[in-house]
């Protein structure tokens, strides 16, 4: 099967005066149709920047992004705009991701109008269909964002992303600013949409429990590189990379008495301006060896689609 999205050696750097910040440092992966892939890591690992590069909301410094065979990075601004009906994104903060002066109807109708997809009565039908899909009362179409609750705003964000029936949807921390009880319903909604629409999704989050609930495959990033990737079950039950192990062990379990063996990492992540040589994790790794300090470990397949970047 051909991958829907293929990212090759993506690099994104930011220049701040004489210093260079490597936000994304050589990332390669594929996403197949119908999958939901989780991209996880802590702040500064580059996951959001990767997604923004794929959608060309920021321009990648190097690398290619193949979508349905064609390289998005080579498209002109106009061609890219045309492609945008196929690649959409749900943004993190529901409070600021909706234009405060637009009614819900205007926000949702805009993508359809921009790409000339439907008009007239069909437009109204599509608006209503989509509202029902995200479980919102049709009466909300004529409301303004400040009249909606957090959960409702996030649903509108999701509705906007799916209304053009895109093939690919990136979700940037869609549940991070939501309360617990709202979070689970949004995840439930996303699951349902996954089944109904067969969407291919990239789910970016630092909330691993949300990722576990909804993703088929998971990729773990650290300091701009992918350090481990594989089927969700594999990554969560048998993490191989020491960073993944530490990350999972740090998450508190909501069951008293079931305490994890906590792997406490030393110190803090190094600055993105000043990346260490060799494996980026070696300064904090409990199993560091001399080789780790010199050579960058490649991402190797250790069986069953489970990839790890570590000198083991």
């Amino acid at each position: 099967m051909e991958p829907l999205l293929k990212v090759v050696e993506l690099v994104k750097s930011f220049r701040e005066g004489p210093l260079v910040l490597w936000a994304v440092n050589g990332v390669t992966f594929q996403i197949y149709p119908g999958e939901t892939v989780g991209l996880v890591g802590e702040s500064g690992c580059g996951k959001t920047t990767t997604a923004r590069c794929i959608l060309r909301l920021t321009e990648p410094t190097e690398g290619q992004v193949y979508f349905n065979g064609s390289d998005l990075t080579r498209l002109s601004p106009r061609e890219m705009r045309g492609q945008r009906r196929n690649l959409q994104m749900v943004f993190q903060d529901p409070d600021t991701s909706l234009n405060p002066r637009f009614t819900v109807r205007r926000t949702l109708a805009e993508p359809l109008r921009l790409h000339n997809l439907v008009s007239g009565r069909r437009l109204e039908e599509r608006l209503q269909e989509t509202m029902i899909r995200v479980n919102m009362d049709l009466g909300f179409l004529d409301r303004y964002p400040h009249q909606l609750s957090e959960g409702q705003k996030q649903r509108v964000g999701i509705a906007r992303a799916i209304i053009t029936e895109p093939q690919f949807v990136a979700l940037d921390e869609p549940t991070s600013s939501l309360d617990m009880s709202i979070r689970i319903h949004v995840i439930g909604l996303l699951q349902r949409l996954q089944e109904e629409l067969g969407m291919t999704c990239l789910f970016i989050s630092h909330d691993l429990s949300a990722v576990r609930a909804i993703c088929n495959r998971v990729m773990v990033m650290y300091l701009g590189r992918i350090v481990e990737a594989g089927p969700a079950e594999e990554i969560f039950e048998r993490p191989l990379h020491h960073y993944t192990q530490a990350l999972l062990s740090a998450i508190p379990i909501p069951e008293p008495g079931k305490r994890r063996q906590r792997i406490l990492l030393k110190g803090e992540p190094p600055s993105l301006f000043d990346l260490p040589e060799g494996c980026a994790f070696h300064e904090r790794c409990p199993h560091v060896e001399p080789l780790c300090r010199r050579e960058l470990p490649p991402l190797r397949d250790v069986g069953g689609g489970h990839l790890v970047a570590c000198h083991r």
């Binding site: 705009r81 945008r84 009906r85 805009e110």
Partner: protein, 264 residues
């Protein structure tokens, strides 16, 4: 505060539209025997050197002053926000160049700038409007640019891009409407300043010249009479200028308070 300002505002507006027809005498109607009469029942503000009724001159002058003031603000706001949006959104060299130009314009007090431009261009009403507008444009560029800078990183601007909006739509249909509030407040204040500037220019003999009734012209014409004791020829027009400018300032200040409160 707001109420007083609004009352003045309305009174002035009325005088431009309704009053001219109510006034008994024409603004250019001279009457040499009646020259320099003090205020009386017939002539509430007295008469000037040529026997013209001052009330009528003031009322007709209001029209001109307000026309100029609103035109100035419309141009300054329009051009200023357009330019401010572009520089705020794109940044880079465009931003640097425009900022340096506005720096230069800000270096001059707006009145001096308006004087210089009027002197260069010539004494006609359109030139006065252009001159004062140019002096105000930098304010609107800066205000709009500031708002655009703080909102261009917001989610909905990115979402607009993500959904397929071309840059010009993101700037003018999404961002600008949300960024106009400070500019609108400034616009009301500028209305007041524009009146003062127009009158000031006319008083100095630039821009509008007599016999066209305009408040500054009236003050200038009447100034010479103060020494001889005929105070009404310049004091009334002067008072009208002050009150109108005050009215607009009050409205602008109250607007600023209201919008600041809402934002919190």
């Amino acid at each position: 505060m707001l109420l007083i300002g609004l009352l003045i505002f309305i009174a002035v507006l009325l005088s431009t539209t309704v009053a001219p027809s109510l006034v008994a005498y024409g603004p250019l109607q001279t009457n040499p025997e009646l020259k320099l009469r003090p205020p009386s029942a017939d002539h509430l503000m007295g008469t000037d050197n040529f026997g013209r009724d001052i009330v009528s001159r003031v009322v007709h002058g209001a029209r001109l002053d307000l026309l100029i003031a609103f035109s100035v603000v419309a141009i300054a706001l329009g051009v200023g926000s357009l330019v401010g949006t572009i520089t705020g959104y794109y940044g880079g060299i465009v931003d640097d160049v425009v900022m340096r130009i506005t720096d230069v314009l800000f270096a001059f007090p707006s009145f001096i700038l308006a004087m210089a431009i009027t002197a260069m261009l010539g004494n006609t009403i359109p030139n006065v409007i252009i001159a004062i507008a140019i002096a105000y444009i930098p304010y609107f560029v800066r205000l709009t640019r500031g708002e655009i800078l703080s909102s261009r990183g917001l989610g909905y601007a990115e979402a607009a891009r993500c959904v397929g909006n071309p840059d010009w739509r993101i700037m003018y249909i999404h961002l600008l409407p949300n960024c106009l509030t400070p500019s609108l407040v400034q616009a009301t204040l500028c209305l007041g300043w524009a009146i003062l500037d127009t009158s000031g220019l006319a008083f100095l003999g630039l821009g509008i010249r007599p016999p066209t009734p305009e408040w500054g012209v009236l003050v200038s014409e009447g100034a010479q009479n103060i020494i001889s004791g005929q105070w009404w020829t310049s004091v009334f027009p002067g008072a009208v200028i002050v009150f109108t400018a005050l009215g607009f300032n009050l409205v602008g200040d109250s607007l600023r308070d209201i919008t600041a409160r809402e934002e919190r």
